[in-house]
Symmetry: C2
Subunit: 427 residues, 2 copies
């Protein structure tokens, strides 16, 4: 039985209890939401060393970090470093998007060291291998793709992005729409190119049952990829995007019926004022399935700062109900991230998630504790409470070099500290 099937029968599993305890809700609530497809606990049956973490309705907003090699940059050592940086910075999940080097070996090494749910995009491995074999001609070999999916499931992957909603119906919308940046999802573009060339239906849609069977066998969660997500503000909320979301909603329903945990992927690039309605639309057409957004980036003009453009969009999305934020690093649109980009990406996404959770979960305790420590000029407590404690290194060094009474002085205002003056006021 999968976790959904257990939940439906009223069984509360250990994973449900653990998630309930961490989130401060009842196990019964978790069970009910899993049965309804509104919460998932991604955890491959074969994985031993992964913590159970919940994603979805009324839970803390979670953050994913993408790592992975490319053809030009395929050092396992670098990826392991990025993994450690992601985890240190507080990522709740990691996706290995490797397209260079020995992809399976890299995945296995990451799986062995990652205590958080690990996701992949199996079509990447498929087309990298196909490309190496066929010398450039990229065929979508359904048989081989399912082999890859099954092998990844066997390796212990906890969730997989699959672009099942990119059907001929969705592609027709693309042809009838003037898009500024076309298709920006790599998996999406690949599938669409093959579908256009052959005139055939997307095999991931046609063989969705086969996909579900594999996922069920290994308890792999499906992340329904949005191959047609907008790649710029001009393409946001257009008909192809909405068409694909409708199909994803139908697939999510089927998936739930079969007992396979499912989340829905979302944009991408989107102006501020379209984000909340996008989230509400997703919740409606996908029956409340967890929503996993990439950003959204609220402007296209800031390469080098897309962790910020996406933190703005991510905060608004999570506030409106998005459950899972895929981080965006400063190097998005410029190149593959270095470890420092990974750290900045995870922290920015966590800030967005937490800013939303303050409102969504009505919980201001973390902020109140930090503010009390700040008011008390207690730098040790602030360091412990800071989202990135390492940022206090310099302050503490500066304070150490001072002596006695001055130790508590705020490094910013010096002797004209508002906190100190204000303290005297209420004495």
């Amino acid at each position: 039985m999968t976790i959904i099937e257990k939940a439906r029968k009223g069984i509360v599993t250990n994973e449900m209890k653990k998630v309930a305890a961490v989130e401060g809700v009842t196990p019964e609530f978790i069970r009910n939401e899993i049965a309804g497809g509104r919460i998932i606990i991604p955890k491959n049956k074969l994985r031993k060393n992964v913590e159970a973490g919940g994603i979805g309705n009324k839970l803390r907003t979670k953050v994913n970090a993408n790592i992975g090699t490319s053809k030009d940059k395929n050092s396992l050592k670098l990826e392991m470093k990025k993994l450690r940086v992601s985890l240190e910075a507080g990522a709740d999940a990691v996706m290995d998007l490797s397209t260079g080097g020995d992809i399976r070996a890299i995945r296995k090494a990451i799986l062995a060291e990652c205590p958080k749910p690990l996701g992949t995009v199996p079509i990447y491995e498929m087309f990298v291998t196909a490309s190496a074999k066929c010398g450039g001609r990229l065929d979508l070999d359904a048989e081989y793709l399912f082999e890859v999916i099954e092998q990844q499931a066997e390796d212990g992957v906890d969730f997989m992005t699959v672009h099942c909603g990119l059907t001929q119906t969705a592609l027709e919308r693309i042809r009838k729409t003037k898009r500024l940046t076309g298709i920006v999802s790599r998996g999406g573009a690949f599938v669409a190119a093959w579908m256009t060339r052959t005139g055939r239906e997307n095999p991931l849609y046609e063989n969705f049952d086969r996909l579900l069977k594999i996922c069920k066998k290994y308890e792999v969660a499906i992340s329904l990829g949005d191959g047609l997500r907008p790649g710029c503000l001009a393409d946001a909320s257009d008909r192809p995007m909405v068409q694909e979301m409708i199909i994803l909603g139908e697939l999510a329903q089927k998936s739930l019926e079969e007992g396979v945990q499912t989340i829905i992927e979302g944009p991408g690039h989107m102006p501020l004022d379209e984000i909340a309605s996008n989230v509400r639309l997703q919740k409606s057409v996908c029956n409340g399935a967890p929503y996993y957004v990439l950003g959204p980036l609220v402007t296209d003009v800031a390469p080098g700062y897309d962790h910020i453009t996406s933190a703005i969009g991510g905060a608004i999305a999570a506030w409106a109900g998005a459950d899972f934020l895929c981080y965006v690093t400063p190097s998005e649109h410029l190149g593959l991230p270095e470890p420092e980009d990974v750290r900045n990406g995870v922290i920015a996404a966590r800030i967005a998630a937490h800013a939303a959770d303050i409102v969504k979960l009505s919980d201001r305790s973390w902020d109140a504790n930090m503010s009390k420590a700040r008011k008390a000029l207690d730098w040790d407590a602030q360091e412990k409470l800071g989202i990135d404690p390492s940022k206090f290194d310099l302050v503490k060094k500066t304070l150490k070099s001072k002596k006695g009474k001055k130790d508590k002085t705020c490094s910013m205002c010096g002797e004209f500290c508002a906190m100190e003056i204000s303290d005297k006021l209420t004495e």
Copy 2:
């Protein structure tokens, strides 16, 4: 005659024409909004080298950068560097908040080199000098404060923050409220401490006419400081904050009647869901006067990343109608900013401002041009359009090291570029 008096008489000045041309609106619109106090063009009569820039209703959201010395760090050279970094990064205005070294000499040096409106907080100079004279006991000497204000006006300061709304009525609200972080405005805390000790009314409130007279003489714009702004989420939108805003609205009305340009300062720390209503409240009780917000920071827990916490809040505030964003640097809550913090602060605030302007001004042209360049893999055009062109240095270096056909390849996806695959799709 001040610019407001001219606007009221139907006179369209050169400054109004310049601002209209830059903003793409009619000079008559600018004239009308200045007459109504909904737009200001801060520019001291005695300043020769300052560009006219407008702040307010239906104009592009502007960004201010705070620089200035402290007692421990008072190098003129460092401040001039921060000034240049602010301007390079695209700040629309600069405030000199110096509290260390020869404050007047620093101000004059900055004024001589700054082509954007320059603001100050005169009470800082007053209490630094008073503190040096009296050995710690901080008296609010009204006579001396007005001397400082007049001298700063003579020096050419374009706008000044004055905490006129912190009255005994407002202080009474503080006494009746449990605040977690009390008063976090330095000027506000200083004034409040003096008022509490002496039991007297705030001289900046009592002598508001005298202040207006000086501002009128030199055409200095007033920035009505919010001495009681919330310093943490727990204190956001409380009664003291709203009480002060009401008084600021009354003062702004008086100021407009006297022909003195005025803006209102706002928070501070504030959860996501209170920001839009805060902006709407300000617009209502202050008769549409331009709103100048410091952040708002949407969480208290991220020292080291407060340019991001404030970019989230600033984007939402500007979208709701805030006109002027004071930058917050990564080092806020940790120490005084270094030049690199200044750059990051300005860019983050500009991202927030622009993300809002896309919606507020219905203008997606910059983003569309960038997206076209991205789609065309035209790195030169992207560099020109990027909010920080220097971020493209590494990409261009990498591309240069490649040859021929590969030159156009996206550095992120390599041979599996969605843009390229997608191009073939529509061919």
